[in-house]
């Protein structure tokens, strides 16, 4: 009895849904072919009819763009990485695949934070061996230009050594020092300086 009731209710709602399916696009687009009316007066319409009607109706309203149910996003995989290297670097930074190492004033030794950032980066690099890495050494403006170029070189190499020790092939990594020439933050306070003392990881094509 309950089963019959359920069936009847199901049939009713299914019929309603189908009407909706048929009418919704028809209302939006005059170009859509006139759909065959589904018998709605008889809510007790025999169940076997329903699939037939549904099939016919769906065929008639094929490809209405607004109707397509949003597909769940597939989880991100390596294949979805952009081909353009600049775009790839932007994505890699946003998603934290590559994380820069930050340093104290006039220091090139790695803090624990810097080590964990480089560890994450090394993990991603090992999985994505199709890419090479450029490590840029940067300094804040409080030093002198010429000494900072040397200090930036040491920072870039401290990050390189750490990543290589974690198993990334040394031949994939190159370094350059920009000293204080290309600050990330042009401010003149500790917040800006802290951002500018870094080893910046950049993906480069092989």
């Amino acid at each position: 009895m309950i089963e019959t009731m359920n069936k009847a209710v199901k049939s009713f709602f299914l019929a309603l849904l189908l009407v909706g399916i048929v009418l919704a696009p028809a209302c939006r687009s005059k170009k859509a072919p006139p759909p065959k009316l589904v018998p709605t007066t008889d809510t007790t319409a025999s169940v076997p009819n329903v699939p037939t009607v549904a099939t016919t109706t769906e065929t008639q309203v094929s490809n209405p763009p607004d109707f397509v149910q949003p597909q769940p996003q597939p989880s991100v995989t390596v294949e979805t990485l952009p081909n353009d290297v600049e775009e790839l670097n932007r994505v890699a930074e946003q998603r934290g695949y590559l994380q820069d190492a930050f340093y104290s004033f006039d220091e090139s030794t790695l803090t624990t934070d810097a080590q964990s950032a480089l560890t994450s980066s090394a993990t991603w690099l090992k999985k994505n061996s199709q890419y090479n890495l450029l490590i840029e050494g940067h300094c804040d403006e409080r030093g002198t230009e010429q000494y900072n170029l040397a200090l930036g070189d040491r920072r870039a190499n401290s990050a390189k050594e750490y990543i290589v020790a974690l198993g990334v092939d040394v031949s994939r990594i190159r370094t350059v020092s920009y000293g204080e020439e290309r600050p990330f933050d042009s401010g003149h306070d500790e917040a800006a300086w802290a951002k500018n003392r870094r080893a910046h990881l950049v993906i480069v094509a092989k």
């Binding site: 040397a150 070189d153 190499n157 370094t175």
Partner: protein, 433 residues
């Protein structure tokens, strides 16, 4: 361009004795006017060290507005800055002859007579003493565009006449400027005029350093994620890539006595001082400390090299022999010192020294190691000496942006030389002319 000295009484003929074709080939040609006059046999030592009062009346012969800006103004600026001449105020309504010297209480009158010959300006310059005797006489000839150069040549000659050494008014300052949107190498005259772009990499070219030939510069180019050493001449030609096979290639600087270039190279994150010949051969490493070494600079005789090292825990200035031996520490004050450059005499070193959180220019005696601070407001870095040792140029951010300034080594007569974009890394050419 060599001055052509006319002998005998040819000075009356001025340019006529020289084929006009040659004249047009040489846009500018000084010639002697003093042949018929008595020259003082020698310049006394007193004269070389005392200030000479000189009256400089307006030139005759052409409308002043034609030559005021390109010739007369730079020439009087040069003389006033020479440290040799003091320009005496001129009483009104007196003709520019020897009597003017007495009236102005000056030792000399500089008489300038202009004529125009076709495209050329010709100026006859005479230095008259109060008795009317010509102490110095010379002519200069060139097209309108050469007038500033003629002005600097005349000022140089007048300084040489008094001191036996040429003035610095034809020396050049190389620097890096980002006014085009990229850092490129630029040149300017000593007074900041005639600013012109030498490189066009559209990348980042910085840290130019003159060779002793007064023609070539070495610099660092950042391009494609690499920093490399390049040489270029003062006309922007003859570019050479010096291949070192190591990283960094910064702070490159020519030896004053050979074709060697000292620079900072890095292998595996250990920046050290290296030397390489300008044909990319004969590279050797001078420092071996694990600390950071940077910023080498040769002494004027090429026998010593100053450099910066972090071996004590902070960046400090050290000296060593050109072979890398006999290392001694020069700077003891301040927790950050860098950018050492030698005075032309080799007796002093100027460097950037951090004082109360900002950088100042410090000048230290190489032997006694006593030092003094010059410079002033803002952060001041990268001093470079004028060829006569009386001035240095440096970069300062006192205006809010990096610009190149010039001042006397006693800290007086500060002049801002650059204004467009940001400008830094000044290096004064090594020869006076």
């Amino acid at each position: 361009m060599k001055p052509v000295k006319a002998k005998g009484r040819k000075q009356k003929a001025e340019g006529r004795a020289i084929p006009s074709l040659l004249l047009s080939a040489l846009c500018l040609l000084p010639f002697s006017l003093h042949a018929q006059t008595q020259i003082r046999p020698e310049i006394s030592k007193e004269q070389a060290t005392t200030i000479v009062r000189i009256a400089v009346p307006r030139p005759d012969g052409v409308p002043l507005e034609l030559i005021e800006t390109p010739f007369f103004a730079p020439m009087t600026r040069d003389l006033a800055a020479s440290g040799v001449f003091a320009i005496a105020p001129i009483p009104p309504n007196l003709p520019p002859d020897a009597n003017l010297a007495k009236a102005a209480n000056a030792e000399y009158v500089l008489s300038l007579k202009f004529t125009q010959q076709e495209q050329d300006f010709v100026v006859a310059a005479r230095l008259l003493d109060p008795t009317g005797v010509t102490q110095f006489g010379r002519g200069y000839r060139g097209i309108a565009a050469s007038l500033p150069r003629m002005a600097h040549m005349l000022a140089n000659d007048l300084v040489r006449e008094m001191t036996g050494k040429p003035g610095i008014f034809l020396s050049q300052i190389a620097y890096a400027s980002n006014r085009t949107g990229n850092w490129e190498i630029w040149l300017m005259d000593w007074d900041g005029s005639n600013q012109r772009q030498i490189t066009n990499h559209r990348a980042m070219a910085i840290l130019p350093r003159w060779a002793s030939d007064n023609d070539r510069m070495v610099y660092t180019l950042f391009s494609g994620g690499r920093s490399e050493m390049y040489i270029i001449n003062r006309r922007g030609g003859g570019r050479i890539h010096v291949q070192t096979g190591v990283g960094l290639n910064t702070s490159a600087t020519f030896s004053p006595v050979s074709n060697d270039i000292a620079f900072v190279g890095s292998v595996a994150g250990n920046p050290d001082i290296y030397v390489i010949r300008d044909d990319s051969t004969n590279m050797r490493r001078l420092t071996t400390s694990y600390s950071i070494e940077s910023t080498p600079e040769w002494s004027p005789n090429g026998r010593q090299i100053s450099f910066t090292s972090g071996r004590s825990g902070t960046p400090q200035i050290y000296l060593m022999d050109a072979e890398g031996t006999n290392v001694q520490r020069l700077s003891f004050e301040g927790e950050w010192n860098d950018d050492a450059t030698w005075s032309p005499s080799g007796e002093e070193v100027a460097y950037t020294s951090r004082v109360d959180g900002r950088f100042q220019i410090r000048i230290a005696n190489v032997i006694t190691k006593q030092s003094r601070i010059v410079a002033g407001e803002g952060s001041n870095e990268q001093p470079t000496w004028s060829p006569d040792g009386h001035w240095f140029a440096f970069q300062s951010n006192r205006s809010g942006r990096w610009q190149v300034y010039r001042m006397r080594t006693d800290g007086t007569e500060l002049t801002q030389l650059t204004f467009d974009g940001e400008n830094k890394d000044p290096d004064w050419s090594k020869k006076a002319e």
